[in-house]
């Protein structure tokens, strides 16, 4: 899994950058029990700039807010009681969630858990290695390690640019985030830009996004790209 290896590299860079700010033990505890890269980097950035714990947590919550919508999308595909559903929610990470998407708003939850599991030991091992390296590296920036994080997000974004609506939404969100950056508190430009997604509520669904929805009452050409799914409901 290339994403697991990339997560290991991002974990190393988190360990390297966090160790001088948080100390070795807190850095490792955070990776082991939070396991959310963007939120960890966001909180770390606030702490490194001398921000309070409250500001660091707020930045992390904003960066984690996407899991609310990702969890809402996942919800109809989950079975079982509240504890079981909440447990599946804990297994959400960006790459695994995207890979488990079966189109038309359906997900394969067990596939998602299987895709998430390799990331966990790699993330912790990467953090530990980074903490060890961090004690030996005075300036992580000289190795370009601070570029790993946006590059990783760019690689994730690349998969989302296949549809016209994905490209349009990404372009608008990037422009809005850059416009807000000089004025808004840290973390706010990113969450505000994600509100661009709500434009989808104003127009008919994009056929390329949800090829199996009976928009306009006919089957779309994109149908053959999707894996056979047995659970499809008949339209009454």
């Amino acid at each position: 899994m290339p994403f697991a290896i990339a997560a290991g590299l991002v974990g190393i860079s988190f360990g390297v950058l966090a160790e001088p700010v948080m100390g070795a033990v807190a850095t490792l505890v955070m990776s082991a029990f939070v396991f959310a890269g963007a939120a960890q980097f966001g909180a770390l950035a606030v702490l490194a700039d001398g921000g309070s714990a409250t500001a660091a947590i707020a930045a992390a919550v904003l960066l984690n807010a996407r899991f609310i919508t990702m969890g809402l999308a996942l919800a109809p595909s989950l079975r079982g009681g509240a504890l079981r559903r909440a447990a599946y929610g804990q297994a959400m990470i960006d790459a695994a969630w995207a890979l488990a998407n079966r189109g038309g708003g359906r997900f394969d939850p067990d596939f998602m858990v299987g895709a998430t599991l390799p990331h966990y030991p790699v993330w912790i091992a990467g953090t530990a290695l980074g903490v060890l390296l961090g004690e030996g590296i005075a300036m992580p920036e000289t190795l370009g390690l601070d570029a790993l994080f946006p590059a990783f997000f760019l690689a994730l974004l690349w998969e989302e640019l296949r549809t016209p609506s994905g490209r349009l939404a990404a372009a608008l969100a990037a422009a809005l985030a850059l416009t807000l950056l000089p004025f808004a508190p840290a973390g706010v430009p990113v969450i505000a830009a994600s509100a661009i997604a709500l434009i989808a509520l104003l127009r008919p669904p994009d056929a390329t996004l949800h090829p199996d929805l009976p928009v306009f009452g006919h089957v779309h050409a994109a149908e053959e790209e999707r894996p056979a799914d047995e659970g499809q409901e008949a339209v009454p």
Binding site: P2, V29, M30, G144, L154, L181, A200
Partner: protein, 102 residues
């Protein structure tokens, strides 16, 4: 150090709660096509915003520095069909080389 541990505890609690909220909120109900389309667009919008703010942001300033060169190189690599790991590694290498030269 107290601030660090409060942050760690806060992140553990809020991350678990946020990740549980979606699966628990809707039960087994299905969403309509427009909400699903909106949800599908949350990933590209958030990722695009993170890429540009992490690449061009320096506190509350916009700067074009060595990071932009590194991320731009990764974008070209991805466009030419590179997989995730080489593209991400290229971003770090190009950024480091540019800093060494400047």
């Amino acid at each position: 150090m107290t601030q660090v541990w409060i942050t760690v505890a806060g992140l553990i609690a809020t991350t678990a709660a946020i990740k549980a909220s979606g699966p628990l909120a809707l039960g087994g109900r299905r969403l309509g096509p427009r909400p699903l389309a909106a949800i599908a667009l949350f990933a590209p919008t958030l990722l695009a915003a993170l890429v540009v703010t992490e690449t061009l942001g320096n506190g509350s300033e916009l700067v074009i520095d060595e990071r932009a060169l590194g991320i731009g190189s990764a974008a070209v690599a991805l466009w030419r069909g590179a997989s995730v790991l080489p593209a991400v590694a290229l971003a770090a290498v190009i950024t480091a080389l540019a800093r060494a030269v400047v």
